[in-house]
Symmetry: C2
Subunit: 90 residues, 2 copies
């Protein structure tokens, strides 16, 4: 769980998730994500790779473009795990 939180504990990755989730059809092309962030293409690619490896997003190649989607169950599960600390016997 610490590893999962560590993946999300980065402003660039949070912005990526936010941008992807807010995109049409809840998917986004890397070509649109790079200019939206103030970071270089390798940096964005790296963060997308980290999110994908952790299972928070899925990657689908279509021709030359790579499309990314958020995995909602993954986000919900982690969110509930965090919220569970508010109960005693957490």
């Amino acid at each position: 769980m610490a590893g999962d939180l560590k993946v999300l504990a980065d402003p660039v990755r949070l912005r990526l998730l936010s941008l992807i989730a807010a995109s049409e059809a809840s998917e986004a092309c890397a070509c649109d994500l790079v200019p939206s962030l103030g970071r270089s293409q390798p940096t964005v690619s790296h963060h997308l790779s980290v999110l994908t490896a952790a299972g928070f997003v899925t990657r689908e190649q279509r021709g030359r473009w790579a499309w990314y989607r958020v995995v909602p169950e993954r986000m919900a599960a982690l969110g509930h795990a965090v919220a569970a600390f508010s109960d005693a016997r957490g």
Copy 2:
């Protein structure tokens, strides 16, 4: 929000929160926490300080002992914020 997640993205701090939440009356003395973790006293003190500064726990001095409590609203709010990424327009 990235800062909040970064605070939780550490196995020692997660164990601290878990131990405190699972203690009687949902509070724990540092003297009990140090031996439960495999870390030195300064390290545990440092992590408790980080959790306190971020508002995830509160510290109360009673005599020579320091007692810690989880702030449930804080955990619940962050958990919901994470889970919100599972919705479109996150």
